[in-house]
Symmetry: C2
Subunit: 206 residues, 2 copies
């Protein structure tokens, strides 16, 4: 704990340009100190262990381990470290997963740096912050109606593979695969599995 009023921040984003720029901007705030930067999930974890930041600002999409995964790991490893997620593509399902992983902030990159700084302070203080638009979307979208297997098979179908290929990869009967995909498509009100994949992706259920 740093009682001097300075908030020690870890910045993780695979885009060097954004990470550096963000670091520079946050450094302009007197009470924020960027103590570490990382370009991947694993690196973010290592940096967190080494520098013990007060707040970890994590990009959702990173190589190795995504922001949510890092948040989950940090919660158990460094419970004192607050985590928050920053992302370009704010999908309802992502928000839900992030909150379940213990993230206390969820901010789209369309926010301003001023807002980000404020939210870092709020999160450090123990509050939570979720982008209002995203929250509304998440509530209206609700939970995924898909079962675990349905989701898994839909994911395997995502790259356009044939039923036979999916069945092979999932070690299931082709008929079973068709049944599950059919059920998933019906639940998502999609006309076929490909449209179902799109629907699920849009909502972050995949």
């Amino acid at each position: 704990m740093n009682d001097a009023g300075v908030i020690r921040v870890l910045l993780a984003d695979d885009e060097h340009l954004i990470r550096g720029a963000l670091a520079a901007l946050l450094s302009l705030e007197d009470d924020l100190l960027v103590v570490a930067e990382a370009a991947s999930g694993p690196e973010a974890l290592a940096m967190a262990r080494a520098h013990r930041p007060d707040v970890a600002v994590l990009d959702l999409q990173m190589p190795g381990r995504d922001g949510v995964g890092v948040a989950a790991a940090l919660r158990s490893e460094l419970p004192d470290c607050r985590t928050m997620i920053v992302t370009s593509h704010g999908k309802p399902g992502h928000l839900k997963r992030a909150l379940e992983a213990g993230a206390r902030g969820f901010v789209p990159k369309t926010a301003s740096a001023q807002q980000l700084a404020e939210i870092i302070r709020a999160v450090h203080g123990g509050s939570r912050y979720v982008d209002p638009d995203l929250a509304a979307d998440a509530i209206s979208a609700g939970d995924s109606p898909l079962t675990a297997r349905e989701t898994e098979l839909l994911d395997l179908a995502a790259d356009g593979a044939s039923v036979a290929e999916i069945a092979r990869r999932a070690a299931l009967s082709p008929g079973t695969v068709r049944n599950y995909l059919s059920a998933a498509a019906a639940k998502l009100h999609a006309e076929n599995r490909h449209a179902a994949v799109r629907r699920a992706r849009e909502r972050g259920w995949l």
Copy 2:
């Protein structure tokens, strides 16, 4: 023309956080001056007309009109304004389209701010810059083997619509649609149209 050695820069990116951070970072360079910012394609054009920047730094993905479209418009409207594209997802086809639109720089966001500043200077000086990795990918990927209609139909197929739906939207016979999609899939060495869509997307041909 600004002979005082100061390069007037227009920054366009829909992500407020990144745009602001980038602006702050570039402002640290003595010879760079961010004279305008925009959050969408049309806004970028309007700002360019109003402020006549020396260099326009455009994000590839923006609402309204993407970076390539803005670059094309700027080339005819403000020939003295150099344009460059910055992007997260660098796909071969995008690079090609950007160069055809008159862009003189193509930089992935994994570059550092220092590099970006250098490239802005280079582009302003009349040089071109293309990320080496991306250039290699673009060369190895080559041009799209698809004809105009094939590309168009593949695009219509992208959201998982049925052949009948695609035929309706394209005002074509269903049989014709199947023929084109089949041809496109064959050219892309894909097993079906959905996999073909993925392949084309990966290469930026869509």
